[in-house]
Amino acid sequence: MTSKKLGALLRSVPPATASAEAAPSPVPRPESAHERSSRPAMSAGAEQEVPLQVLIPERVRKRLAVKAAEEGRSLRALMLTAIRSLGIEVTDEEIKGKRGRKGT
């Protein structure tokens, strides 16, 4: 049981590593050749997915992670929802994702 004083101290500083954060890694790990070859084939009619890596302000990244955790959705789902709000066509199925991740 952590005392109030120590708890406040701990909350006032960041973790030493990114993995200590509840949020997922800000940059997706590149997929290895083995992972690519062993990946199940996309279902008929589904479009191939490609990686997207962008640099964004750390504050925004953290806020995004918190929002994802609060809503129980993946970062991918949040990003696709935001992209759809820009007028770019993204279907509900695409937001949900091929692996049935927490897309809603």
């Binding site: 500083v13 030493a16 590593t17």
Partner: protein
């Protein structure tokens, strides 16, 4: 003998890892059974660890996460001293290590940024000592000058200022010597590679002073 010694300051590049490994190497050569905890995500110590090398008898556990306190408690059952190297910024793992430590060593170069960081770390330890977890057993603290050039005005000035302000500063210094990076290439330290050399003698002086710190008349406790 201090069971757990943590090297901490909120600034990088002051020689924490070199000092930590050198202290462990010295204690190994004089018959103790030290262990190292690498709580720095950069893994400066763990990356150079060679279990078959001349410092292989000193286990290095890399634990940069907040469970570092558990690792320290586990190691202190079998090793003494347990020496913890921390990251050069204020973070939860360092606080966790400090909570579990007996003596905090704050290394600093003779430069104003290092002095600021050392004082900030000193104040952090004072805050930790106010927590229930350390009630009645405050962490002892000592600062040590590192990478100093013998006889320089700035080193004398920093020493004078810290001493006059009442901060606990060791007399012994870790002078700027090429023996540290040379030995560090193989994850070793001067006490192993050149035990009769000047760097090994510097480390021996620091260890001697650390061991004398257990005398409460000499040691200045933060809680005082």
């Amino acid at each position: 003998m201090f069971g757990v010694i943590t090297l901490a300051t909120s600034k990088g590049g002051v020689g924490k890892s070199s000092l930590g490994r050198s202290l462990a190497a010295h204690w190994l050569t004089v018959g103790y059974k030290p262990a190292l905890v690498d709580a720095d995500p950069q893994r400066s110590l763990a990356n150079r660890y060679d279990p078959d090398g001349r410092l292989g008898a000193v286990p290095i556990v890399a634990e940069p996460e907040e469970r570092v306190g558990d690792v320290i408690e586990e190691l202190r059952r079998r090793h003494a001293p347990v020496i913890v190297d921390t990251a050069g910024f204020r973070n939860r793992t360092t606080i966790g290590a400090l909570v579990a430590t007996d003596l905090a060593i704050i290394p600093l170069k003779p430069a104003v940024e290092d002095v600021d960081a050392a004082i900030a770390t000193f104040n952090l330890i004072r805050e930790i000592n106010d927590a229930d977890e350390r009630e009645g057993r405050p962490i002892k603290v000592a600062m040590v000058l590192t990478m100093t050039m013998r006889g320089t005005v700035i080193a004398r000035h920093v020493r004078q200022q810290l001493t006059e302000a009442g901060y606990p500063l060791l007399q012994a210094e870790m002078l700027n010597r090429v023996a540290y990076p040379e030995a560090g290439i193989e994850g070793l330290s001067p006490s192993i590679t050149d035990p009769d050399g000047a760097a090994a003698r510097d480390i021996a002086s620091i260890v001697h002073e650390i061991m004398n710190l257990e005398n409460p008349k000499i040691m200045k406790e933060v809680a005082a």
